[in-house]
Symmetry: C2
Subunit: 592 residues, 2 copies
């Protein structure tokens, strides 16, 4: 049985001392005073620890059950969902015009981390609703917004995204689901969709499916695709629920993890659908939501690992095994706690330094989205667009690795399901796959984002690092442990970028063979930058005579660990990248 404690203080540190949210002047940020954000985070943390975390194992062991065409969620999910709705947690960062609380996305993200850490599978029901809400919010007609959004804000109705078909995952151009126009302006949707998270359940009175399908006249491939609103239950003119639509659940997949969320095969048999956005522009409509959705999955990747890490720390302090090599530290006990051993320290520091860096990176990403949405800041939009595949790919790969390392601290006990550590690993695993498998993120980064707008955004990133280094060059406290390593890592990233520019023009395989390593290299530089910023903030607090020395000293020590022991990975990633396409592409398919 695992437990969860919300890292409110760490979040407050990032919001107020690193991002300095109230000083940004962004519309809506003026309310984010320390006391206010603390109150929100404390309240969310209480829900996460007391309502959601106790249901995490239940969701995993009971799972969802399909009975007579209806999906039943695990015991207790309904009460918890009602509590979430009642507390207004589903509406936190949504548009007040439709009943939302209108808080900045950065707050929704911080709160989201807590909910995911406590119970990832449960939180997906509202998380997916959030995604569908955004699509309708951006692309819907006034009528559609009035019809669907208020109910989705409150989560009386939830939402889903229907993209994948059995033969078409990444390659959506191949999809076969058809949309036939009807005389009344609606469409009949026919086809099968798979891997639909929260595709059906008993937590809401209606489910609003957003479905990609091909309407006549759109041409081949992704060009012919449109996006449709297909409610599970049709909505009458007066907003009340009418007849059941022709959409049914084929079956629930047996998955490796996230058992508490129903992953459904959805069958559309001439279901009534309504065009969302422009005809044959469905892909574009999907893409506009992608930064948020992918940041959300990156968040899941590390947030699940936060839960795993907290329990690993508790176990390492409790479990007595062996003696410290430098002399017993618990001489009156039969053995010392695991945490005295250097190799246990190493793995806990790996976990801690990654997770705190990941949190800062994600909240910064959410802040960039706020800047783009609330201030129409095109530079912020370009930068977050560049960083999105890094946030998604790097944080989920490392999040999974972190969960595995946390499980390892438990020894054999971690392999027993009862400990709860296996669930963290199995749940975290999906984040590397869905919302674009991480190889696709790497392709997006190197194949599209790097060169976007003439390479402007990656140059802006490098300038940002350079400016930071320059601003702090006189700071001896930071120089050796933070600034020098950041500079070296950033140089590795630039060298990799140069290699792609030189070789990739002639041979795209030369760039794409290194895309995965580039994504990780970039991720490390981002976390290095985050740690340098956090160290500066902590150093400032210590210089300013804080009364909470231990907190800031811990920050600096944790950051030092990251810089000394994680950041050197950039050299290996660079070495792999500049080995080019030859080693990767040497074999013909039949030589495998």
């Amino acid at each position: 049985m695992t437990s969860y404690t919300a890292p409110t203080k760490d979040m407050q540190f990032v919001l107020h001392e690193v991002l300095k949210v109230t000083e940004t002047g962004l519309p809506g940020y003026e309310e984010l005073e320390r006391d206010f954000t603390e109150a929100v985070l404390e309240a969310a943390g209480k829900v996460a620890s007391e309502v959601l975390a106790p249901l995490n194992a239940v969701g995993d062991t009971k799972g969802c059950v399909l009975e007579n065409g209806v999906v039943h969620t695990p015991e207790g999910f309904d009460t918890a969902f009602a509590a979430m709705k009642e507390g207004g947690w589903t509406a936190l960062d949504l548009d007040p015009e439709y009943g939302g609380q209108g808080m900045p996305y950065v707050m929704g993200t911080a709160v989201g981390e807590m909910f995911v850490s406590a119970n990832m599978a449960f939180n997906m029901y509202q998380g997916l609703t959030h995604g569908a809400y955004s699509a309708i919010h951006v692309h819907g007609t006034e009528d559609q917004k009035r019809t669907y959004l208020p109910k989705m804000v409150s989560c009386d109705w939830t939402g889903t995204m229907n993209l994948t078909e059995p033969h078409a995952g990444t390659d959506l151009g191949m999809l076969r689901t058809k949309a036939e126009p009807q005389d009344d302006g609606s469409y009949k949707i026919t086809g099968q969709k798979i891997f639909i998270s929260a595709g059906d359940h008993d937590l809401a009175e209606n489910i609003i499916h957003l479905v990609l399908a091909k309407a006549p006249g759109g041409g081949e491939g992704t060009k012919g695709i449109s996006l449709f609103i297909v409610p599970k239950v049709l909505v009458k003119e007066d907003g009340t629920l009418g007849a059941r639509n022709a959409v049914t659940v084929g079956h629930i997949e047996e998955k490796m993890g996230i058992h508490g969320n129903a992953t459904c095969v959805m069958n559309y048999d001439g279901a009534t659908g309504y065009l969302l956005g422009d005809l044959h522009k469905g892909m574009r409509a999907m893409f506009t939501m992608m930064n948020e959705a992918r940041l959300g999955v990156g968040l899941q990747g590390y947030a699940v690992a936060v839960g795993a890490y907290q329990n690993a720390v508790a176990y390492a302090k409790e479990r007595l095994q062996g003696r410290a090599v430098t002399g017993a530290e618990n001489p009156s006990g039969p053995a010392d706690p695991l945490i005295v051993h250097p190799d246990i320290r190493r793995t806990l520091m790996d976990q801690k330094s990654f997770l705190e860096g990941a949190r800062a990176f994600t909240l910064w990403g959410a802040h960039l989205i706020d800047r783009s949405h609330r201030a129409n800041d095109a530079d912020a939009e370009g930068l977050i667009s560049l960083l999105t595949p890094v946030l998604k790919g790097f944080l989920t790969d490392k999040g999974f690795e972190t969960a595995v390392n946390a499980q390892q601290v438990y020894g054999g006990h971690g392999y027993i399901e009862e400990s709860g550590m296996s669930q963290f690993v199995r749940d975290a695993r999906i984040t590397m796959i869905y919302e674009g498998a991480n190889g696709i993120q790497a392709l997006d980064l190197v194949g599209r984002k790097l060169a976007q707008d003439g390479g402007k955004h990656v140059m802006a990133f490098f300038d940002m690092v350079k400016t930071f280094l320059k601003e702090n060059e006189g700071n001896e406290a930071l120089k050796e442990s933070f600034l020098d390593p950041l500079k070296a890592a950033s140089k590795d990233l630039q060298a990799a970028g140069m290699f792609f520019m030189e070789k990739g023009m002639k041979n795209p395989n030369a760039a794409l063979s290194g895309s995965y390593d580039f994504m990780h290299l970039f991720g490390h530089v981002c976390l290095g930058l985050m740690w340098a910023r956090m160290a500066r903030a902590a150093d400032a607090a210590l210089q300013g005579g804080t009364t909470d020395k231990a907190f800031y000293e811990t920050k600096i020590a944790t950051g030092r660990y990251y810089m000394a022991r994680q950041l050197p990975m950039t050299a290996t990633h660079l070495a792999r990248i500049i080995s080019g396409a030859a080693p990767v592409m040497a074999l013909s398919a039949d030589q495998f």
Copy 2:
């Protein structure tokens, strides 16, 4: 549903062209002619593919069931076990005096890889019997050997190892199970053991438990521990089965994987036990078997991943998704197969180059054990003792990573249990934990093995690398791609060793903080050496005008990949190691 094809040709290459087994002059190796080993491997491969692999998913989904005190194995396991016994596969490398076939351990290891790849959980029933057999074979009295070994060779009786207790895993000094001497020379064993693989089942008429317990007068800690033979059913003087012993199964653990093998809580309630080996020298008796047992787990680590890799390759060739960036390769189809994409190549090459290197490393390790056992070669014994933690720790970490990467090739389909890819990952996970968690392997390597016999064995390893480089220095075909990278990696390993010598004397934490990285650094150098050897053998075959050019060219290309893209990890491991203890040990326990 996964499938499995035995890599006979790759194994033959390692046995005959790299290890050159028939030229070693080792007793028993004279029979290992090409035709003979091929016949054995082909036959074993057929059993693995046709008998074991089809039961792999069954074992996972059905698991073991405890009913009225008896453990039932999954449907079909009994028939398969009977087939294994009948084919003589349980007796392959065991002593002919007790009914074994007496083949070298290197052959048992090659065959073992196949069985594990096909069905890891199933193979543990005989694998653990093998371990218990070895303990009795080395430490038993003539009488004990005659009583137990013939039945264990045939697997009419299976064996278990009982070490762990709820509060005592790694730290066996704390164990509480008691052995009270009886007048007839036997002991009454009382206590609880946990995590006992194959602790009970319905595949054999008796189970021979080897149990660590404390007999009076042995002193504190591990010094007081002795090893006992505790049969599930007592054996009468005439060798027939008598009364049921006082040992029962408490329950079966719900685990993350290896569901086909029953992991039992065993309760000993005054069970009759017989001392095995010397009184109070139980730890020593356990340790003599450890090289083999740990090599066996290292083998499991990569062998499970072989199964995963094969299926990933098949999927990558079959699944159509997207187009090659350099132009369609399947223009008549709706899309190109995944394998055209550079990032899919990257991951498949990562997997392939690791797995073939791991196989060579493991067979070399098994050969060292043969040299130590069959020719009393103390140098071989010292070297395998040094390499054992590397084989166990590095191959299982990388094996798990490889299984995860293979699963990733499947995209969303890999997360669905039906694909079988999740099982490979979940099964592989235990290998990093049991038989000494990998952190303990790293501690064993740096804390004990490095300095063993005055550091003689690690020096011998470096000499071996140096000699290889010297012998081949004129070989231009190998120089740039193989010899230079091996030299650089070996230098990194030496630098790390020097760092430990200099700093570790004053502060043991400085060495132990880098132990895990050192284990991986060492593993990469070993695989680099293996690849350099394989490349030399392949180059010789090509120079010699082989008719099978494609095979040898594939070997060289695969090796080049390893050297160019995996071996550079040594630099990062070294950087972490020389950052020393300070970043790792900076925090007090309550700062986590």
